[in-house]
Symmetry: C2
Subunit: 206 residues, 2 copies
């Protein structure tokens, strides 16, 4: 074995950390899938362990509780939505195109395992403190959407309306997809997004 | 006391039944308000009893468990939506006007205590059997909306689109209102409905 430790049969600290992160994410994702399938309440950490072919103590090595798992799943979902909406606002260029693009990304995110968990289970089972932290993230996403819509109205590419209501309507319609979306179904998230976005931009009425 | 029992100091069976129904609804409604405020998990039957100035055994006289309460709250919310959507479909006359009217009613319903509970808590905490029963009601509401939209497309008053997606988009946008609606806030449900329905009918784009 040389002094750099390159030939050590033990993994480097960096590798070990990356592996731990990987495994923790597998625990979170598997739990999210089970929450989405059976509901948060009906899912036990035993179910999570079984699905991963590990023991419950091993699950506890990565997370403290079912509550911590849910908090993390919802946080990851919200963080992705926040990143997408912040990006859309900073993009510059065509506001209408940016809005349409971020709506499509929103659908992509809420149809992932973490995104579905965010909408299907949400923060109701969590403590008030955890819920407050998540609400902060939510309100940031909302403000980005409002700003983007306000910008579009100012530029004359969107109809004059209250950006607050418009942002809520858009978020509601797009989030709802996560309630009925079937990852194993025939429809891809992109196809659903296209139709839903078209309806929100152009309306039902002829 | 005459033979009809009119002057009996005990209430008639009918009156007793009506009073029991009244009190049971008060238990359900109070629980719904608490679930909406604090979350289903954070609410105990002690909280419900305290809010009603009664004891927990008295609560148990009207309902078996927190689960039964939630099932009933969600069922009542869904039943009202189902009645409104069935009515809209049977109304005859102007399909576009019927659709707009039922969208307004939908907002009225999801901003009641039971309606908010339906959307904010939903059926996740319930058993698979209970969730199946509620899903049946949900799918009926969905089918009514699809039928109404399909009718509007056929009559040429709505844009050609897939009624399934359109129904989901409408339900999502309108249901979402229950997530942020504040019964003590300055905005009445009607004002919110008007803006949201206008957006769904006419779109964001100029």
């Amino acid at each position: 074995m040389d002094s750099s430790g390159k030939n050590s049969p033990w993994a480097s600290r960096q590798d070990r950390q990356a592996e731990r992160e990987n495994k923790r994410e597998a625990v979170l994702r598997t739990a999210a899938i089970l929450f989405n399938e059976k509901g948060f309440h009906a899912t036990s950490l035993d179910d999570v362990a079984e699905r991963l072919n590990i023991t419950k103590p091993t699950v506890y090595y990565y997370v403290k509780s079912k509550d911590e798992i849910l908090f993390e799943c919802v946080r990851i979902g919200l963080q992705r939505l926040e990143q997408a909406s912040t990006q859309a606002l900073q993009n510059g260029g065509d506001t209408r195109a940016n809005l349409i693009a971020v709506m499509g990304e929103y659908v992509q995110i809420v149809t992932t395992d973490f995104g579905m968990c965010l909408i299907r289970v949400g923060e109701d089972p969590l403590t008030l403190g955890s819920r407050r932290k998540l609400r902060l993230l939510k309100s940031r996403i909302d403000l980005r959407f409002r700003a983007l819509i306000a910008q579009g109205i100012e530029e004359g590419v969107l109809k004059p309306c209250d950006p607050k209501f418009a942002a809520f309507t858009v978020a509601g319609a797009l989030s709802w997809i996560a309630r009925w979306y079937d990852p194993n179904g025939p429809l891809k998230a992109q196809q659903i997004a296209d139709q839903c976005v078209d309806l929100l931009m152009n309306g039902l009425s002829k």
